[in-house]
Amino acid sequence: MTATLAPTLPLGKALNAGLRRAMEDDPKVVLLGEDIGKLGGVFRITDGLQKDFGPNRVIDTPLAESGIIGTAVGLAFRGYRPVVEIQFDGFIYPAFDQIVSQVAKLHYRTGGNVKMPITIRVPYGGGIGAVEHHSESPEGYFAQTAGLRVVSCSNAADANVMLRQAIASDDPVLFFEPKRRYWQKGEVDVARPIDDAYPLHKARVVREGTDATIIAYGPLVVTALQAADVAAGEGRSIEVIDLRSLSPLDMDTIATSVRKTGRLVITHEAATFMGIGAEIAARVQDQCFYSLEAPVQRVGGFSTPYPAAKVEEFFLPDADRILDAVDRTFPA
């Protein structure tokens, strides 16, 4: 791949490039959110877009999340493809009703006559030293809601292509962006087509291994790879899967890996209790029972509200906690 086709971009700029491309490709793509216009968003993900596409394509809204989503529903009714920015994860709850009662259900409720191709971008997760309501991982709520697709990108290349895939989808997509990785650089092929080998619902094996599998998504993929590096130094070959899509789950990729390695650790920042990991563990025991060498392990957030920044390092799964879970899958 040539350098011109694949410049190195931070994840946040890869998202910006993805938005720009989607807006160029389809005049029905409109952006809505708080501070996304002149400011370019608090994380600058929409930087420069209002200047180039105008205030009718990049719409600064009043400060009301239910209003933003409800307005996007009406625009979708009219044939638009709204891309909504929820400023921070913890601000999505005022819009919860519109998302789960309206966005998710309108296609079903109208017998398939009304499409809701809405992409809801959510900068999520901890690790940036923020105050409360700015570090949450609400993806599980939405993954439990029929009618929604839920995805999370972990790197710049995926951020760019997955966002374009989400916008092109005729279904509503909750697009969770790992905000602490916005500045993490990677090669991005901004000209890459979106109908290629990695559709939005496919997981990816990001590191091959034979002794155990770690499943992560979003911000923890980097952490899982760090853990795998350390494990390699201890003589263990760890396979790492980037889930990418939380709904639907790519069980084929998961089961293939678990049948190979026989051991599984799942990690996410959201609370372990009733989390995405619980669903994966249940499905793995159903599909891979005779391949498992040890019980499936989960490493997630605690069943506490997201804590104050000075102690978030103890709350967030890190390489050590993931490795401790890997150890538990091997007999002493």
């Binding site: 009662s101 109208t110 017998g111 029929a146």
Partner: protein, 367 residues
Amino acid sequence: MDTAISRTSDDDLIQIVTPEGKRTEPSEYSRTVEDITIDKLRDLYEDLVVVRRIDAEATALQRQGELGLWAPLLGQEAAQVGSARALHADDFVFGSYREHGVAYCRGVDPTEMLRFWRGSTQSGWNPYEYNMTTPAIIVGAQALHATGYGLGMKFDGAEGAVITYFGDGATSQGDISEAFGFAASFGAPVVFFCQNNQWAISEPVTLQTHITIAERGRGFGVPSLRVDGNDVLAVLAATRTALARAREGSGPTLIEAVTYRMGPHTTSDDPTRYRPAALDDEWKQKDPIDRIERLLDAEGAMDAAFRARVKDRADHTAAELRRGCLGTVEPTAMSLFDNVYADPHPLIAEERDAYATYLAGFEGVQS
């Protein structure tokens, strides 16, 4: 708490026909309905009667166990017919769940309305076929959808406008306030049509607001009209006025149609537990159909042929509706999985296949 229907005077109500069936002094509003000749007024009267009949027949079908639930509109016929008859075909309606009269005026087959309440479908009809959404149960959510749709119309440079219906109870929801704010800020071509029927199930409107609903719109910079919701001509006039504002690019208008829900909230409700009978009697004097009948009678237009025409139309509609309801082809078990997503979704496919296999396992047992 006092359950009087309003703490404010009704002096500000737009009215063209009094409850006694007399025309009021000409006004800026009555001039907007000068084209409503006696013939056209008779058509409106026929609409009112047919809509009341649809409602009565559906209520009967619920009592006979054919519908799971029904939300009667008895008393609100003028608010619905008057506003709906102000609309053009390319205008778009975001309804709530009691707008059977609006749906009738949009051309929706009454049987399609009933199937939702029967539990046979969630869709009822294709919204794009009639430019009207199917019922929305979460009160107030649809006002935001209307705002977004109106914004889209504005971006498209479309001629049309949007109207959204909600009740007095819904005005307590944040979504209604947010819709007022968004529509005002964006200048969206939206008519917010509140049927203030005085009751949100058992709660009087005085529990929802201490000022008129119209005043609440003004607080958001949304020009607001208060209209006698039982006066079909006044409602038509107010809605035409608001739609004209929307079409000319002057933004949203709120209409508070002051009316009265003469029956229960739904067929599961018992208004005798919370509502003084005297209040019902008082509102019977303001019946939306009686006043037009009195007016037509006074103008010599209630002849026997016309009465027969209206009766035939109502009878025919009710018979069709009953036949359609009883002849409903019920959905199959596998339809559960249809239309959850627009694009294929592996989880839905997996569950559908597993359930089909499970159901197929019973066939041998039954044969």
